[in-house]
Symmetry: C2
Subunit: 430 residues, 2 copies
Amino acid sequence: MKITANNPERKSWLDVDTDSDFPIQNIPFGVFLTKDDITTIGTRIGDYAIDLAALHQLGYFEGIPLTDDIFMQDTLNDFIADGRTTWRLVRNRIAEVFDEENDKLKNNAGHREIIIFKMSEIEMLLPVSIGDYTDFYSSKEHATNVGTMFRDPENALLPNWLHIPVGYHGRASSVVVSGTKIRRPLGQTLPQGASKPVFGPSKLVDFEVEMGFITTDANDLGKVIPIEEARTNIFGMVLLNDWSARDIQKWEYVPLGPFLAKSFATTISAWVVTLDALEPFRANGVIQDPKPMPYLQEDGLTTYDIRIETFIKPKKQQETLVSKTNFSYLYWSISQQLAHQTVNGCNVRSGDLYGSGTISGPDKNSYGSMLELTWKGTKPLVMSDGSERKFLHDGDTVIMRGFCQKDTFRIGFGECTGRIKKARKLELDH
Amino acid sequence: MKITANNPERKSWLDVDTDSDFPIQNIPFGVFLTKDDITTIGTRIGDYAIDLAALHQLGYFEGIPLTDDIFMQDTLNDFIADGRTTWRLVRNRIAEVFDEENDKLKNNAGHREIIIFKMSEIEMLLPVSIGDYTDFYSSKEHATNVGTMFRDPENALLPNWLHIPVGYHGRASSVVVSGTKIRRPLGQTLPQGASKPVFGPSKLVDFEVEMGFITTDANDLGKVIPIEEARTNIFGMVLLNDWSARDIQKWEYVPLGPFLAKSFATTISAWVVTLDALEPFRANGVIQDPKPMPYLQEDGLTTYDIRIETFIKPKKQQETLVSKTNFSYLYWSISQQLAHQTVNGCNVRSGDLYGSGTISGPDKNSYGSMLELTWKGTKPLVMSDGSERKFLHDGDTVIMRGFCQKDTFRIGFGECTGRIKKARKLELDH
């Protein structure tokens, strides 16, 4: 089916700034709460949120096989489960309805009032109910930096890394939508030189710049998703900040991996940008040597050219750009990740989230975590107010922005933000 | 509220064998499919399955605040979310309805026909929709055995182990109910002495004898569950087999922990036995030295005396007992596990599953995995037909049985079983 929604010539009768992340060619999906306290599935054009449940009820999806309540939901899961043909039909239709040549809704003030909100009038919610959250570790530069700092600079990359898209299971319950405040976690840490751990607020709270993809119901237990079918089962992508408490992580992570150092929160951006919308920005992946095993081999444009900028904004201060990276720096592609996830027969469900792992590039300013940017705190970042940061302070807001751009044509993800709140008082624990 | 359902003197008007796991004092909860293809929440007395939706509809829960459809569900999640007072009211009432002194249902043949099924007539389903599955690593003997075999016998236990109930996130999508067949996984492994990995069926498929507890909605993100409130938030327990592919695990697990070596399947028993039903079997925990941090300190009877026997049944052969262990061997308690899980503010939801980790005791026949029982395959187990097992063969069924017993009074879990099917053909991958 042709993705007519991607037509770069199309303009909308809704106002869209030229540098907006959300031109009529984007048409992402999300869930929001209206000013009347109704939860609905919606999309966004420019600074307008569009209530798809209302659009459906008023007949604008006529001819597309959709259940009556498919958009009257508090998650995208059921819509995603309907599969790629449905996503495409719906995106194509939305593009038509808001095309500047189409008068039907444009000239119906009554309908417009029910369907269209200003972004400032609504509240974005977590777009999916996440059954499982896997976090991969697919940046060679990140894995090398971490291996250099914590293990052996001569053998920074572990033997399995070039053969396997290494990943681990993350906590799904604590994935939150952009804007949610993040409580600094308490936990056990082992101070430098000490023989016994201490308890208290983490002193080394960090961000990790990642992206995540969201799947549909893809396979039954015991079946695989062959790599050539992987992309068909991926609905779209989000920005993802995998908050990390480095001191808790260091003490707890052997031998079973990160646990409480990560499970206090993971933030994702509110709008899921479809793979279809990202199609014009497919790009060459990194050359893989050694050649991956057959179940991980793929041809063509395996990645996406997505620029990601990360800022720190101290309380009541201006934001400072601290990292400029690109999704295409990753060594392992999303198809390889999904093929690997299922090669043992593990089943994948609608709404599952798959993080890329921290995205670090070759340049020092393209690293995706403070751990790397400050090189374990030895080279602090300088904020616009002159203050320094080795790791995050209470009150700091981390802002990630991601977008694809060719000339003046941009498809973006909006923001993925979170502010660090001070830790709970210790006496509340005992 | 008094747990009158636990009255050890009570007898039911339903036939119950003296050695049944399910006397009227048990009253576990599960989900089943009736012969009429209706999914319902139920309980079990002896070899009878009781349809709680029908019992409710016919008025037997009168006076207990329950929504009309609370038992007309395909998971226990909503019922569990109702909280401990409701669980107790319902269990107490079920005990009354089936008490041999109570004629109401006993003498109503029409109602009995709608409510009561033989176990052979129904099909048990997965009892909960699992939001998150954490697997702990709480047996000191197991951690020591693994550390001795794979790392350093002199320092078998890692430095954090006596301070932290070490755990990691598992895969929720592939948790299946007892009886589900398990496909031998394919994956990457590094043969002994090789420099490059190979792809194929795992040669070292193992079981892990565990128990799991299931929580209610316990805390919001950023809040903790203090250890003294942990038990209030635990609905009940199940037997759990954490199937493991040791060769895949060895190659993939550094540095982020087990992933595909575990995510091909985890089996749980079908009936969730409530903590209330286990109350008569509370027992002293292991003495903990060093003393845990304050947030992990608890007094009294911190564990349960639950015997667990594991059998291997080769295809068309008799079963052979291979392990006899006890839940009370575990070093860390369920309260400590849940307090630790949430000390960083991680939120816990209704239906979440928490595995104990492999339960190994001090004696060699109390080890909870073939890895330990055969000491890395060096001491094969002998089956009743004379064949030997280093790890599981295709066609082998693993059967776990668990129960508490004082004199002739028994509360049991039934079985947790799964048979290994041969791996998918390689050419199906490409």
